[in-house]
C-alpha cells in the first residue's frame, strides 16, 4: 500500500472508532491517574487509543537491557531466580555502607559510591516487579547483535566517555570527555526509554494530529506530528532525532531519523533509525522500539518497555539537570586537583 492510501485507510479506521466510541467517550485524563481500578475509556473522544497520562517504567528497573547469557532464549525468570534478584534489589535499596562495598564486587549491580553519584534518597530502587530477563526482545537471545568493525570503534569511543557508569579511566580534560548524560545535554533516544535508578516517569498528551511524549529525565519532550508533515532535509539534525508518527490500527507507529553525529546510542549516531510502536494494553502502555543502523550492527534489534500507572507517581517534576550540574564541576575540578598533586609528588621524588 502506498503512503497516501495507507494514511487514508487509517483515517477510515479512526472514523469508525470515533463513531463506535463517541456515545461513551469521556475526556480522558492527561495525568493524575490515581489508581487504576475504575474502568476507564481507553479511547480518546476522537477515537484513537488513549495513551495519555503519567506512566512509569520503575517496575522494570531491575531488568537488564541485554539478557545474561545463562538465560539463553528464556524471556522470564523462574521464581527462584526472581527471589535472588529481589534480594539484590533490596540490598541496593538499603542505605548501608557494607552493602555498597559488597555490591561494588557484583558485576552490573552498581556500587553507588563513585563520583557523580547522588545520595541514596535520590534513588527509586526496590519498585521492580517485572520478571523479564532482558528489555531486548529481538534477537531471541535478548542481546545486541554483532557490531560492524566501524560500529565497534564508535562504541568504544562512546563508552570511553563518562564517569562511574563505565569505569572510564579518563581523560577528564574538559566537558567533552564526559557523555551526554553527564553533561545534562540529553538522555538520548531511544536510551531514555530504558529505566534507570530514578525519574522513570513520562507523560503523554494527545490531540488528533499530535502526540507529545514528555520524559521527566532531563525534561525532554518530543512533539510527534501525525499529519504527514514533511521531514526536513538531512542537514537538520537533533540529538534525539526528528519524529514523525501515524496510527496503524490501534498502534501508534513513530519513525525517528535525522539523528545528530553527536548522538550516542550503543555505538550508533547519525545513521540511527528508530521505529517505535506504542500500544495501550489494559492499564499500561507498551512501547516497542526497533533500532536499525547497518553501519553499527549487522541487523536491527528490538526492545520493549512497559509504562504503568503508579498512584505515587502522578505528575512529572522538573528535572533541572544542567542548572545543578555539580557532578561535572567536581569531576573536572577533581581531575585538576589530582594532576596538581601528581605533579607535586613527581617533583618531590625527582628534586
Amino acid at each position: 500500500m502506498d503512503m497516501k492510501s495507507r494514511w487514508l485507510a487509517s483515517l477510515g479506521i479512526a472514523g469508525v472508532m470515533f463513531l463506535a466510541s463517541y456515545p461513551a467517550a469521556q475526556t480522558s485524563s492527561g495525568g493524575a491517574g490515581k489508581g487504576s481500578t475504575a474502568k476507564k475509556a481507553s479511547k480518546t473522544p476522537w477515537g484513537h487509543p488513549d495513551l495519555q497520562g503519567v506512566w512509569t517504567t520503575d517496575f522494570e528497573q531491575a531488568v537488564p537491557v541485554e539478557r545474561p547469557a545463562e538465560y539463553g532464549t528464556r524471556a522470564e525468570l523462574t521464581a527462584e531466580e526472581m527471589r535472588k534478584r529481589q534480594e539484590l534489589i533490596e540490598k541496593r535499596a538499603r542505605d548501608d555502607a557494607q552493602d555498597r562495598v559488597d555490591l561494588g564486587k557484583v558485576p552490573g549491580a552498581g556500587s553507588r559510591v563513585q563520583s557523580g553519584d547522588g545520595p541514596e534518597h535520590w534513588y527509586e530502587i526496590g519498585k521492580s516487579e517485572s520478571n523479564r530477563t532482558s528489555l531486548i526482545i529481538d534477537p531471541p537471545n535478548g542481546r545486541i547483535p554483532e557490531y560492524t568493525p566501524e560500529g565497534k570503534k564508535r562504541l568504544a569511543k562512546q563508552n570511553d566517555k563518562g564517569s562511574f557508569r563505565n569505569n572510564s579511566t579518563g581523560p577528564w580534560d574538559g566537558p567533552e570527555d564526559l557523555d551526554l548524560r553527564d553533561r545534562c545535554i540529553t538522555r538520548g533516544l531511544p536510551r531514555t526509554w530504558f529505566p534507570s535508578a530514578y525519574n522513570n516517569g513520562f507523560q503523554i498528551v494527545q490531540t488528533p494530529d499530535t502526540v507529545v511524549v514528555y520524559y521527566e529525565r532531563l525534561h525532554e519532550a518530543r512533539v510527534i506530528p501525525l499529519d504527514n508533515r514533511p521531514l526536513p532535509g538531512p542537514d537538520v539534525r537533533e540529538y534525539t532525532g526528528i519524529s514523525r508518527g501515524r496510527w496503524e490500527g490501534d498502534t501508534l507507529v513513530v519513525e525517528v531519523t535525522n539523528f545528530s553525529d553527536k548522538s550516542e546510542f550503543y555505538g550508533a549516531a547519525e545513521n540511527l533509525k528508530v521505529t517505535e510502536r506504542y500500544r495501550r494494553v489494559g492499564d499500561a502502555v507498551e512501547v516497542e522500539f526497533t533500532v536499525t543502523d547497518p553501519t553499527t550492527w549487522v541487523k536491527p534489534w528490538t526492545a520493549k518497555v512497559t509504562g504503568v500507572k503508579d498512584p505515587e507517581y502522578w505528575q512529572i517534576f522538573e528535572y533541572a539537570c544542567h542548572e545543578g550540574n555539580y557532578g561535572l564541576v567536581n569531576i573536572l575540578a577533581g581531575a585538576r586537583a589530582k594532576e596538581k598533586a601528581d605533579a607535586a609528588k613527581r617533583k618531590q621524588s625527582n628534586p
Partner: protein
Amino acid sequence: MERIGRQVGSAALAAAVVACAFGVVQLAGQTRGTVPRGTDGRPKLDGIWQAMTTANWNLQDHSQSAGPPMVGALLATPGGVGVVEGNEIPYRPEALAKKKANFEKRWTEDPEVKCYLPGVPRATYMPYPFQITQSANKILIMYAYAGAVRAINLDTIPEPTVDTWMGHSLGRWEKDTLVVDVSAFTGQQWLDRAGNHHSEELKVTERYTMLGPDHIQYEATLDDPKTFTRPWKISLPLYRNIDRRAFLVNYKCVEFSEEVLYGHLRKKPTP
C-alpha cells in the same frame, strides 16, 4: 490596490471599535477570523507560536545599544517599544539596585548565557518558537529554547514541595481565556537581558486569549512583594507559525554554555 486598502482600513476600524469595547486598547487589528475550538467548545491553542518583540533584550522601552564588543554588531541590542503596561517596573529600592548591578554584568551573569531554564514569563517572549499541545486537563508547552517544558494542570494538583525554574502551573478557563497561576520559582531567573529580575516569592498570572486563528493575546501579571511595590503587567501578541512545514526544532543550548561554565576547569583553562 485601493480596494484592498479600504478593506484593511475598515477591518482595522472595526477591530479598534471591538478592542475599545473590551477595554483592550493595545494591539487592535488582529481580530479577524474565527477562533479554532475543540469538541469541548474551548479555544484550541494548539500550534507553534512566537513573540515578535524585543522584550527579551529589555522589557521596557529602549533604544539600540552595544552588545559584547568582541562580536561586533552580531549581539547588539535592537531598539524597541516595551511590553510593560505604563512602562514602569515598580521595584523596591534594593531590588532596583540589584537590577542595576545585574545590568552591569549582563554579558556573563544572565542565566541565558548559561542556558539555564528561562522561567515564566520570559520563556514566552524569548526570540524562539514554542509549541502548545492542549488536552482536556493538561496543556503542555514545549519551548525550543533549552528544551524547556511546562505542564499546565487544569485539574487540581498539590503544589510541589521544591522550587522550580519553570514554575508550577495551575490553569483554568475564564470564558475564552486560559488563565494560569504560576508559582514555586527558585528566584534565580532573570526577566530579560537587561537584568530585570524577581524573587522566589513571584506569582505570575498569565492570560492567553485567542484573537483569531493565528494570534494569541498574552498577558502576565507579576506579583512579588519582596521585589516590587505593586503587581505589574506585561502584554504582547503571539503569532502562529503558519508554514506548513514548520515543526519545533529544539535549541538545546547546554553545550554552548560549557565554555563559560567550565572553561576554567579544563586541563588547558580557557583564558
